[in-house]
């Protein structure tokens, strides 16, 4: 599974998630709350791409194992 293709495919949900969790609070002055918002923003920024990469890795490993089992079976 191509990670870049998956990122392109999830771009709309990712953008909409970032808009609501980062852009809207920033527009409402959430940055003034200091470290609490920075901590929240870092988690919100980093976790979704990590989830995408992790899901791609699991999918690739699953396909590799399933492919091997399939090859042995035939």
């Amino acid at each position: 599974m191509n990670v870049f293709r998956v990122f392109r495919r999830t771009a709309v949900p990712l953008a909409s998630y970032y808009a609501v969790t980062l852009a809207l609070p920033l527009a409402n002055g959430a940055a003034e709350s200091g470290p609490a918002f920075v901590e929240h923003a870092l988690a919100v920024l980093i976790v979704p791409p990590v989830v995408i990469v992790f899901a791609c890795a699991v999918h690739t490993i699953r396909r590799a194992i399933w492919g091997t089992v399939w090859d042995l079976g035939t």
């Binding site: 709309v12 949900p13 909409s16 609501v20 809207l24 409402n28 919100v44 976790v47 979704p48």
Partner: protein
């Protein structure tokens, strides 16, 4: 073109209205989303939630409170904007525009209730099993779980809508 601009304006207005309502509302004012969520969480987990005025829904047996910040309004806003964007090409008349806005609003509400139910049920399970993720403290686990469930659900909802949209296009052709 005018209709599409009107849809963009209406979408922004609805998003702003929801956000405004959410920031001004007390837990009691969010009954329209907290009540079905609390009932569904009760069905899924077997916990008994009772309404506490000014606080939200409380399960005494699990010591778990579904409060204002658990309402899932932010997810609903994200899902609504995403659905309008994903199906924007389906606007060709005022009627289709109204249908798109109405359907996106209803779908985002239903998705918010369902996804929030799953998130709260999982949060209750994680709270009861703190050893499941020993490397993180309770607040980190709650935050991590929220991000994964909400973002993952947005991706699934988008995929579902794309598939239905493709199927709809092939049927109308």
């Amino acid at each position: 073109m005018k209709t599409k601009l009107a849809v963009v304006a209406a979408t922004l207005l609805i998003v702003w209205g929801l956000k405004r309502h959410y920031s001004d509302a007390r837990a009691d004012d969010l009954w329209w989303i907290l009540t079905p969520t609390a009932h569904l969480v009760g069905v899924v987990t077997g916990a008994t939630f009772t309404f506490q005025p000014g606080e939200g829904y409380f399960a005494r047996d699990r010591l778990f409170l579904i409060e204002k910040s658990c309402a899932g309004i932010n997810f609903m806003i994200a899902a609504f904007g995403m659905l309008v964007f994903a199906l924007f090409h389906r606007i060709w008349s005022v009627t289709s525009a109204a249908r798109l806005l109405g359907a996106s609003l209803i779908a985002s509400y239903l998705a918010a209730v369902a996804v929030n139910t799953a998130r709260i049920a999982l949060a209750m399970w994680l709270a009861a099993h703190p050893a499941a993720l020993p490397a993180f403290n309770a607040a980190d686990v709650h935050r991590l779980e929220g991000i994964v469930v909400y973002f993952g659900s947005l991706v699934l909802l988008y995929e579902l809508v794309q598939r239905l949209d493709r199927r709809g296009c092939s049927v109308t052709r």
